[in-house]
Amino acid sequence: AEVTVGAANVSDYLDPGRDHSNVGSQFYYNAFDTLVGKNHDRLEMEWVPALASEWKLIEPTLMELKLREGVKFHNGEDLTADDVVFSLNRMYQATFPPYVVRSKDRLSNFAEAIKIDDYTVQVRVEREEPLWETLLNLQQVMIIPEEYTKGLTGDPKVAEDSDFEAFSLTPVGTGPYKVAEFQPGQKVVYERFDGFWGEQAPLEKATVIRMPETASRITALKTGEADIVTNIAPDQLELINADPNLKTEGSATALFHVMIMNVNHPHLKDPKIRQAMSLSIDRDLLNEALWLGKAVVPSSHTMEEMGQLHQPDLVTFEYDMEKAKSLLAESSYNGEEIVFDAFPVYYTNGVLAAQAIMEMWAEAGINGKLNVTEKWTGNDPEMMARSWSNPMYFADPFGSFGVMWAPDGPSEGAGRFNTDEEYAEMWERFRFNGDVELRNAAYAELMDRIKQDPPVLPLYRPFESWAMKSNVNWAPKKGHIPYVLDFRAGSISFN
């Protein structure tokens, strides 16, 4: 069987290590494997062997992994410990700047990978790591072939920057599909890889084509030019479901649309102002109106995917217009214009929500102004507030909140968020503690800090929908990070 997918966006490059974008997340799982696998059918974390058949801690900071034998890369090479060490260290000890940038926020605790023998590797961390499996299951540490990569350009013995760049155009992995054709930004063609170590892929071929325009995507589905299309806005669901040949599948994605605020902006220094900005947003109304109630409005920065670390009872974020007004009255706010930046089309309903927020702010007495721009203003000291998304890169508060709000993390590094020793200490307890209860407690303390001096407000988990032919059985799986197009065995079938 073959399928054609009409996607709103297609990656400009395919390199799991370098990428962590919402667009990119769609593409890696079909073609690449991690050492530690996960049962994606379940919400709870259930680790399963993947390229590593077994793993165990041999020291508190050293894990040993046995590699599966007989695994082949798409180019026919066998997977060995060298490939694994190469793949892991390209992130753990990154020299290629795009990897450097990517590895810092989530892999900084990982020191190195060491080859023990052809099918055994060890991974050393700096400090005791409570999230071993989680961080070995990351997209960024998917395994790529060493010899092939090094040989792409220049000296075949050395991994030059240009090798990694070339790799992102002609990616090779061990997954059930190989990337048979890749036109950056336009098209990805997967073909079944017969040498796959696991269960055979159900599709001979899957083609993902960029179709940026909503009407075209839906129409292509209807005319049969596509079997599945992505990014269906809630307002369109009714239209598609009314057609007996079509159906939609969707879920509240493991990602928050957020509003970030610059705590260091002269006009926003007073936390009361930011509290008011946050409290005056009626997120349930947004959900009701823009998402037909299908999105999920959180009260804390956790998700049910995080299992025991999900803390639904924590009330960090809420709607309270009266409180917002009174806080504003107490604050130093004098009607200064507060500019809210938003990307024009990137997020479903993003600009609509932003406009609605402006109205809500106005009701509270905040003089908001919307600024729609393609520019990423998150590093700009002038930035006051903007919309963004905070995906769950992996199923842990660290994989969502933590990636952005760690001490010296991207937010602080960009100058719009401050931490102090107290925060760092809370962070330590949350990040490295082996005990779930203690971690949760520490996280609650962090959330309290966030509540008092808010740099962020998660708006909702957007309800993302895919539309497809009625005979296609496909749906986003609960255990995945957002947007993954999973066509592996058991994920897609036809009737």
Partner: protein, 297 residues
């Protein structure tokens, strides 16, 4: 018989209003009336619009116009994706669109007109230089210019006008230059020279007034091009900042609702149609008629 020539060139051009109206056929008359109505509507927008164009009512989004199911009282043309009144947004949108297109066309005219006049009158290297600029402008996609300008200066209304004003200046420059070159060969210009008229007098008294009709025609073309182009910018996400409404931005951002809530797009699209249609017809008619005295030679 008096000595006044009875020839058919004798037309009441000196009384533009009444004379032109009398010569006009029904299409032109309709176009004139539509144009006038739109002008009145846009001037009187605050009086005509039943609501504030930016007032949202999130619970009553996407309501259809009068006469359909789920119609909401008072919102004759329905509501948009944020529950705003389409009629009000249309009237205010028309007002802003009108202003933008008018200002944009004036700026193009000013830039292109000046350069075209200079190129046509001066000739030589200055002419080459200006025509080089025109060529360069033709070769650089306008969308890029818009995109870069808007991202450097932000997309405030002023900048928007500037960007729209850059659109089409080269057309003005070309046309006016060609017209000036033609006029410079006209015996009456030579006659003025022979009378001892200095260059500036020739430019402003003899040449400029005679390029008025091609300018008017180009102006109407440019005007409607700008209206359309502004909506294209909105399509690309480069239009005026929301929540401000222009006809173009309503169409550009509302397009995703065309299958499900077509009225969001229909009302502003029809208004655009009427506006540009009226302006075009008038422009074309002017081309055919107002220029008689030069063209009949």
């Amino acid at each position: 018989m008096t000595d006044i020539s009875h020839s058919f060139t004798l037309k009441a051009i000196r009384l533009p209003g009444i004379g032109l109206w009398k010569q006009a056929n029904w299409i032109v008359r309709i176009a004139t009336l539509v144009g006038l109505a739109l002008v009145v509507l846009s001037v009187a927008a605050p009086l005509v619009a039943p609501f504030d164009p930016n007032d949202q009512s999130l619970i009553s989004r996407l309501r259809p116009p009068l006469g359909f199911d789920r119609y909401k009282d008072g919102f004759f043309l329905g509501t948009d994706e944020l529950g705003r009144d389409i009629l009000s947004r249309c009237t205010f949108g028309l007002r802003l669109t009108f202003a933008l297109a008018l200002a944009g066309a004036c700026i193009s005219l000013l830039i292109g007109g000046t350069l075209g006049l200079v190129a046509g009158l001066a000739g030589g290297h200055l002419d080459d230089l200006i025509m080089g600029l025109v060529d360069a402008q033709i070769a650089i996609p306008m969308t890029l210019i818009a995109l870069l300008t808007l991202s450097v200066f932000g997309s405030s209304i002023d900048i928007m006008i500037l960007v729209l004003g850059i659109y089409g200046w080269e057309q003005f420059a070309r046309i006016i230059r060609a017209e000036v070159k033609k006029l410079r060969q006209m015996p009456f210009v030579e006659a003025a020279q022979a009378a001892g008229a200095p260059p500036l007098r020739i430019a402003f008294v003899h040449v400029l007034p005679n390029v008025v009709s091609p300018i008017v025609v180009q102006f109407t073309l440019n005007f409607s091009n700008i209206v359309i182009w502004e909506s294209t910018l909105s399509f690309l996400g480069l239009g005026v900042q929301p929540p401000t409404a222009t006809l173009g931005s309503m169409v550009g951002t509302g397009r995703d609702y065309l299958p499900t809530a077509p009225w969001i797009v229909l009302a502003p699209a029809l208004t655009i149609l009427l506006l540009t249609f009226a302006v075009q017809i008038l422009g074309d008619w002017l081309r055919d008629h107002a220029d008689v005295r030069l063209r009949s030679r």
